[in-house]
């Protein structure tokens, strides 16, 4: 059974190896006493990636990757996108809206991706969870996290 995904992934690995080789070509090669420079191991890794990519491609074209377990579940795009959207929103929000807001949005997004339809409950749980973590890390462990929009509130509460 030829699988288009396996063929695409195999060729992707080959392409990655070529890309690594391209970057390696820009690295200097002088190496002092050892006779090899900072480009030597990258060249080995590039060659290795290209080699395993070609090997994967050969398997993919001749009957599919060997000993791959049967996979019958169908891909559900919506949950995948909800989880991804949560992570992207978190990435964008964390620096200016703060850890609590970003974490709550992520929490609600992931919960939605896993089938939850109770948005208000998820936001409430997310708030409790992120505020708890915030206090634990900032107060107890001295790890700094951005307070963001919650800074005035946390400030007046003496935290």
């Amino acid at each position: 059974m030829r699988s288009p995904a396996e063929i695409a992934l195999s060729l992707g690995v080959v392409a990655l190896g070529l890309g690594v080789a391209g970057v390696t070509a820009t690295l200097p090669s002088e190496g002092g006493y050892a006779g090899i420079g900072p480009n030597f191991i990258p060249a080995v890794v590039a060659a290795g990636i290209i080699a395993v990519g070609v090997w994967l491609a050969i398997e993919a074209f001749t009957g599919g990757w060997r000993k791959a377990p049967e996979h019958t579940d169908t891909f559900a795009p919506a949950p995948f996108l909800w989880v991804s959207a949560g992570l992207f929103a978190h990435m964008l929000l964390i620096a200016w809206a703060g850890f609590i807001v970003a974490g709550t949005v992520l929490f609600a997004g992931v919960a939605r991706g896993f089938g939850s339809r109770r948005v208000a409950r998820d936001i409430a749980l997310g708030l409790v969870f992120t505020i708890g973590i915030y206090l634990f890390f900032v107060k107890l462990l001295n790890v700094s996290l951005p307070a963001g929009w919650f800074a005035p509130l946390l400030g007046t509460a003496g935290i």
Partner: protein
């Protein structure tokens, strides 16, 4: 004798009230997170790493030893009570443990697992105490060429020999080696694969890779393929105590499993997976109750669980004495050492005697804490297991992103985390193992340093790797590992 004195001094460190407290916190948190379905020991250790950033190295590493043990034990509780194993090492336990729980014997199953883990963990820690100084003495004779050859051997066994497919294992390894190249070359200061991005100059952090592959990748995978599957939690009914018959059937299994698990842990054989299955097969063969196997035989839980813990301790031998991680979890532990500027290996035993022996002593203490803590808290673990999937994964991802963000307070690390998440998703979907990538990331840069150091000493003469006896033996062993299975396969296909 010297080891004994060092160990006694180590107990002096481990039993200091603060260190005892960190051990207790580590075991509790490790078990709590390790119990969560879908969270294996590697992810537990990676997720809890940020908790220790402000601790002194000794306290942090003692806490980590506790997290490591707790995570292992938490995983078995999940396997016994839930019908979806969280980690490969628990699959053998699931065969009998889940059946026992279904038959209303969850209590004895959990008890034999807890006591067996204690017995095996304690014996294995004792073996570690005896063995470590011997390996250190040997390792002091190793030159850079020998280290490099040993690492090649470790790479090939974890990537090419174990697992379903040699080529997919190697793909994972080379990806890990590539990530290990990102950053500043330690020998020349040359930037490599960082593309001028400041966050990448520090290199790829093992927490970001491990959390990306294990937590983000797993969440994307489960969301996309399995979000509607719900697992059932078995109730813990009746007594937690084992009957006299249970004891009689359990203890030989614990001892046999320790003998199987510990040696497997010390060699690069991918951690606990093989010894747990070997122990299961052994018990199945030796049992006087073959009819119970498949329906909840207590030996089938006692053996694999003890083997799992003995192997987990055995893994610490090459990690501490040689600086070689042989499982993904060990690689993350090595990353924790590196965060404190410590490089495990023979020199650490000389330079940081108190720290190393304090850590080893804390393993004995951790085993005791685990035993005391776990059975009484079983009600809490059961409740943790009942957290619904949507809340569970939401919480895991909030915690996972926190670890990545706290590195540089930058969204770039979060973007890297997502990229690794996509990679983890693809690897899970198309059966590419993730362990070799994590080991490659951590061990790759060390191997490169040793390789270039060896060539510097020999003035660029490559023959050093083949003329030094230790190095040559490791390379010969590696060659055998590749050639022999291939020959066997050829021979089989031509004869049939």
């Amino acid at each position: 004798m010297e080891a004994l004195n060092a160990l006694i001094a180590g107990f002096g460190v481990a039993l200091q009230p603060m260190n005892l407290l960190w051990g207790l916190v580590g075991v509790t948190l490790g078990t709590l997170v390790g119990v969560l379905p879908g969270v294996g020991p590697a992810l537990t250790v990676a997720m809890l790493l940020p908790l220790t950033v402000r601790l002194d190295p000794t306290g942090a590493l003692i806490m980590f030893a506790g997290i490591y043990y707790g995570a292992m034990f938490g995983g078995s509780t999940t396997t016994i009570l839930l019908n979806t194993p969280g980690e490969s090492a628990s699959i053998a336990t699931a065969l009998e443990g889940n059946r026992m729980a279904k038959a209303g014997r969850a209590g004895p199953a959990l008890a034999t697992s807890a006591i067996g883990s204690f017995v095996a963990g304690s014996i294995a820690t004792f073996l570690l105490t005896l063995l470590a100084p011997l390996v250190v003495e040997l390792a002091l004779k190793f030159g850079p060429a020998d280290y490099f050859a040993l690492m090649v051997f470790a790479f090939i066994t974890v990537a090419a020999v174990l697992g379903n497919s040699t080529v997919r294992g190697l793909t994972s390894l080379f990806l890990g080696l590539l990530f290990g190249l990102v950053g500043i070359d330690s020998q020349t200061g040359q930037q490599r694969f960082a593309f001028g991005v400041p966050e990448l100059l520090d290199g790829v952090d093992v927490v970001v890779l491990a959390v990306g592959l294990f937590a983000v990748g797993e969440a994307l995978y489960v969301a996309a393929y399995q979000s509607r599957i719900t697992a059932t939690v078995e109730k813990v009914r009746g007594s937690l105590l084992m009957s006299a018959a249970d004891w009689k059937r359990s203890w030989p299994a614990w001892l046999r499993a320790t003998a199987i698990g510990f040696p497997f842990g010390t060699i690069p054989a991918g951690g606990s997976e093989i010894p747990t299955f070997l122990s299961y097969a052994t018990e199945k063969k030796l049992t006087k109750h073959p009819e119970e196997f498949g329906n909840g035989a207590i030996e089938g839980v006692a053996g694999p669980e003890a083997a799992n813990n003995a192997a987990a301790t055995g893994v610490l031998v090459p990690l501490l004495t040689l600086g070689i991680p042989t499982s993904a979890t060990a690689a993350i532990l090595l990353g924790a050492f590196q965060n404190y500027g410590l490089q495990p290996g023979p020199l650490l035993f000389e330079a940081q005697k108190d720290l190393v022996w304090g850590l080893i002593a804390s393993l004995y203490v951790g085993n005791v804490i685990l035993l005391i803590l776990n059975l009484p808290l079983i009600g809490l673990w059961v409740r943790v297991l009942q957290i619904p999937k949507d809340i569970l994964y939401a919480g895991i991802l909030v915690f996972a992103t926190l670890g990545a963000y706290s590195l540089h307070q930058s969204w770039v690390d979060l973007a890297t985390l997502y990229v690794f998440g996509l990679l983890g998703f693809a690897m899970r979907r198309w059966d590419i193992p993730v362990g070799p990538a994590v080991i490659g990331l951590i061990l790759g840069p060390i191997a490169e340093t040793q390789f270039r150091r060896a060539l510097s000493i020999s003035q660029g003469d490559v023959s050093v790797f083949f003329t030094h006896p230790i190095s040559a033996s490791f390379l010969a062993l590696t060659a055998l590992l590749i050639v022999v299975p291939w020959l066997v396969r050829r021979f089989r296909s031509t004869s049939s």
